[in-house]
Symmetry: C2
Subunit: 120 residues, 2 copies
DNA sequence: TCTGCGCTTGTGATATTATAACATAACCAA
DNA sequence: TTGGTTATGTTATAATATCACAAGCGCAGA
């Protein structure tokens, strides 16, 4: 598992976008430079980036973002503005108090959709 | 917007399943009775059920469940066991303390994946 | 240096999930 | 009863994601 030019390129595209990007939009961008990119190319790179904590999937949008807290593998809480598309990533929410007793969480998906401070 | 036999049937299938169900699995079940069901049939029914708060989408699974707290339209926190597939639905988590200032949440997706008390 | 192994990428096909667009039918109020 | 609204039927296609197998690359050890 190592960083490669291909993977670095995908990460760079995510960082440059600064907001959630669809896999096929990434693919289009890669194709405009490379021509030979195909879906597995981008999905594999995204899988790698998520595995090492450099990217997240925004589940309810089927989109991907660069992690704003690089080197942090844990789940993030995402605050996603429906108007301007910005995403504010937070970490470290406490364990919910109303969790079922005995439930052992391995991965959490927390996405809040609404309006950011600038957009309302 | 009213409950119809078709929509009631979709809800019944969700309730009977008792766990997250894929849209196309619902479709297969409907077809085995009806024969004429097509994707828009099931997706439209699911949209209706979610709109009135009788069903939720499990975003990270692309699956749907009956709401365990019927008549509650707000977001739910789902605790999903990766081993047995059970889903425990909770409501009423407090607003996160570390939210960005000024962010106005309209909809929240909260899904915790792990092992339920019985499965570990 | 060579060789073999594991990881990475290329490539074509296909699976899965979801929606668009338009036609028909059912419901219900005026 | 008629006209508008809501619901369903139907065909096609869009959008998202994975499989399977081949080829390349990089490096540890012979």
């Amino acid at each position: 598992m190592r960083m490669t030019p291909l993977r670095r390129n995908v990460l760079a595209l995510l960082v440059k976008a600064g907001e959630p990007v669809k896999a096929y939009d990434l693919l289009d961008q890669m194709r405009s430079e490379d021509g030979s990119a195909k879906p597995p190319t981008v999905y594999r790179s995204l899988d790698f980036l998520m595995e090492v904590g450099l990217a997240h999937k925004v589940e309810a949008l089927n989109a991907y973002i660069a992690c704003a807290h690089c080197h942090d593998k844990g789940g993030a809480e995402l605050y996603i503005c429906g108007k301007c598309g910005s995403v504010d990533e937070r970490h470290g929410a406490p364990e919910p108090l109303n969790a079922p007793t005995g439930f052992e969480t391995q991965r959490s998906v927390v996405e809040h959709y609404g309006l950011c401070a600038k957009c309302h």
